[in-house]
């Protein structure tokens, strides 16, 4: 911007300066020409001159010397041109002669045009030149930055691979790299710790739980206790069982997070569901029907497939009301599990969240559906929930 202003100012200055320089030059020339004409006139009184450049006329009285601009028709060029003219009288032998000399003036527009043209050309060339120089230099300068930026974009916390940045000759970039490296290393370590933490805690809890359970059994076998005390101890056993389930599910979640399920095979979802349904027959009086004839074959870990089906079914069984039948619909690449309910969920958006419980059922760990979600995320399936016709509908689309 500043350079454009400077260029405009210098162009104006150059224009004015060139104009005055040319004017001076022309005037000098006019004076010397006039002098020459006068010398010639002294020698030859009949000198007529070369119109319109030099003209000699006889005049009655002497006039002042005048220098002025005049427009004259130039027959040679067939246009009206601007001339600078100097006229003055010279007395030779008592006779007054008016001597007029003219010089064609370079038109100011022409000068302006020339200057502007030259400047624009210079600016344009300079711009292009600077642009390419800058571009190539910047490219070279920023190359390590952009290479590292790409690496940063590719960086994934989950992969566990350390971030490897290229070194450069630029101190600031190296500083940045160092900071990025220490930041990502720390974040990665924290992430690993966090992942490991759940698993470690769950495992560490198993032994104390085992001791508690063993002691309860020792008490009920070795000491005489009252029926009431036995009730309490029995319910403690159920609570330990709940903790055990919670642990098991937390460990499962941690394992999915750690990508520990790699044994992918073609699994018939229908088969897995049928197997799960037959298991449920022994555990609940609720009738479970399967409808639809589509066969769904998915490549996934078989144990995860059975966890997926079991969790969907057990969720339906747990939250079913009035012993209404539960239905599993098999459709093209999609499975739907419906159970009856009294009203839609208050927060359907949170239903797949960890430890989110819509109902106050005491025996729910709040992890069943979040495991469903996790497994779906792991394989790119889409789980969804909706409430229609007094039914809770949980659907899994196996093709996203």
């Amino acid at each position: 911007m500043i350079s454009i202003i400077l260029l405009v100012v210098s162009a104006v200055a150059l224009y004015l300066y060139t104009g005055s320089l040319l004017e001076n030059e022309i005037e000098e020339e006019l004076y010397s020409n006039k002098d020459r004409v006068e010398q010639l006139l002294i020698k030859d009184n009949d000198l007529k001159g070369i119109p319109p450049i030099m003209m000699v006329e006889k005049v009655g009285r002497s006039e002042r010397e005048i220098i002025k601009d005049t427009l004259l028709y130039d027959p040679m060029q067939d246009e009206i041109e601007l001339f600078r003219q100097l006229s003055g009288t010279k007395t030779i032998d008592g006779q007054n002669y008016r001597v007029t000399v003219r010089a064609m003036v370079i038109e100011s527009e022409d000068i302006l045009f020339a200057i502007v043209f030259i400047f624009v050309t210079i600016i344009f060339l300079a711009f292009i030149f600077l642009f390419y120089i800058n571009k190539s230099r910047n490219e070279k300068l920023w190359k390590p930055f952009f290479v590292n930026l790409d690496k940063l974009k590719d960086f994934s916390l989950k992969s566990g691979k350390p971030l490897q940045l290229n070194e450069s000759d630029i101190v600031e970039f190296d500083d940045l790299n160092r900071e990025m490296l220490s930041l990502t290393t720390k974040v990665q370590a924290d992430y690993r710790n966090l992942k490991q933490f759940t698993e470690d805690v769950s495992h560490e809890m198993q032994t104390p739980l085992a001791i508690m359970q063993a002691k309860i059994e020792t008490i009920i076998n070795d000491q005489h206790i009252s029926d009431n005390q036995f009730e309490h101890l029995s319910s403690l056993q159920s609570d330990i069982q709940r903790l055990k389930q919670l642990n098991k599910r937390l460990i499962l979640l941690a394992k999915i997070n750690n990508n520990q399920f790699t044994d992918n095979k073609t699994v018939s979802i229908n088969e897995v569901f049928e197997h799960a349904i037959s298991n449920f027959h022994e555990l609940t009086s609720v009738q479970i029907k399967s409808k639809g004839s589509s066969t769904i074959n998915i490549t996934m870990d078989r144990s995860l497939a059975s966890v997926l089906c079991n969790n969907l079914l057990s969720n339906a069984v747990k939250h079913n009301i009035a012993n209404n039948p539960i239905t599993v619909f098999f459709e093209e690449n999609r499975v739907r599990v419906t159970n009856s309910g009294t009203k839609a969920l208050n927060n359907p958006d949170h239903i797949f969240d960890r430890f989110y419980k819509e109902s106050k059922k005491p025996d729910s760990t709040g992890l069943g559906l979040s495991i469903v979600k996790k497994i779906c995320d792991y394989y790119g399936f889409v789980p969804s929930y909706r409430y229609e016709k007094n039914n809770h509908v949980f659907q899994v689309d196996f093709v996203s």
Binding site: Q213, K215, D222, Q237, E282
Partner: protein, 224 residues
């Protein structure tokens, strides 16, 4: 029978030992790797209950050692880690069973009995309790040598009762034995009641009395 309980948690070790010594079994204990290793070198056991995470070493190493020495003993691994890999590794190395903490002592007992029954450790394929006889290979039951028809669950229940005879079994223990991890799906324990009632009926008047109610809600299988 002579058992070795290799478990570094003293409390758990003692509870297991107490529970298992009820049937006139001899239970020795080891609290760390070296003690267990030493005892296994010196004595013969029918069954070793082996914790994978012993303080001073891995139970799996002990297992490898045992297998190298071709000791004729049943090995049941107990572990706090219920990952399939650990389980498979343990069984591949020659363990006879694998049980994850926390477990019921009655469950451990019935697993030990099952291991013993599998023959080579001096067990038998038949279990006799008064007039009841179970053929564990054919999974069939006889009362006074007359076959009775039992469902799978009823058979499991009867076997569980007989192997844990004289012990108080709460419904939670029975449910977990019969349905494993799925048992938390049970709305209540009515199902067990139904199974036990059916079993009682099939065992005839004579046999039904063995299944006694303990403390109102538990059960105890006992010969009068």
């Amino acid at each position: 029978m002579k058992y070795l309980i290799a478990e570094d948690e003293k409390e758990l070790q003692q509870s297991i030992a107490t529970y298992l010594s009820h049937d006139a079994n001899v239970c020795e204990t080891a609290s760390d790797y070296h003690e267990a290793s030493e005892k296994l070198e010196l004595y013969e056991y029918d069954v070793v209950v082996l914790d994978i995470n012993l303080i001073t070493g891995s139970g799996l190493d002990l297992l490898k050692k045992l297998k190298k020495q071709h000791k004729k003993c049943g090995i049941i691994i107990i572990s706090a880690n219920n990952s399939l890999d650990d389980k498979l590794q343990g069984l591949d190395l020659g363990a006879d069973d694998y049980i994850t903490k926390p477990f019921h002592l009655a469950e451990l007992n019935s697993r030990i009995k099952a291991v013993l029954r599998r023959g080579q450790f001096g067990g038998e394929d038949t279990i006799t309790f008064q007039e009841i006889r179970l053929d564990t290979l054919a999974r069939s039951a006889y009362v006074d040598d007359k076959p009775i028809t039992l469902t799978r669950k009823e058979y499991d229940l009867l076997l569980f009762f007989i192997t844990n005879q004289g012990r108080v079994l709460s419904k939670a223990i029975i449910a977990e034995h019969l349905w494993g991890d799925d048992s938390d799906l049970l709305d209540n324990f009515d199902f067990i009641y139904v199974h036990i009632n059916n079993l009682r009926k099939k065992l005839t008047k004579e046999g039904a009395k063995y299944i006694q109610t303990a403390y109102g809600s538990g059960y105890k299988f006992i010969a009068d």
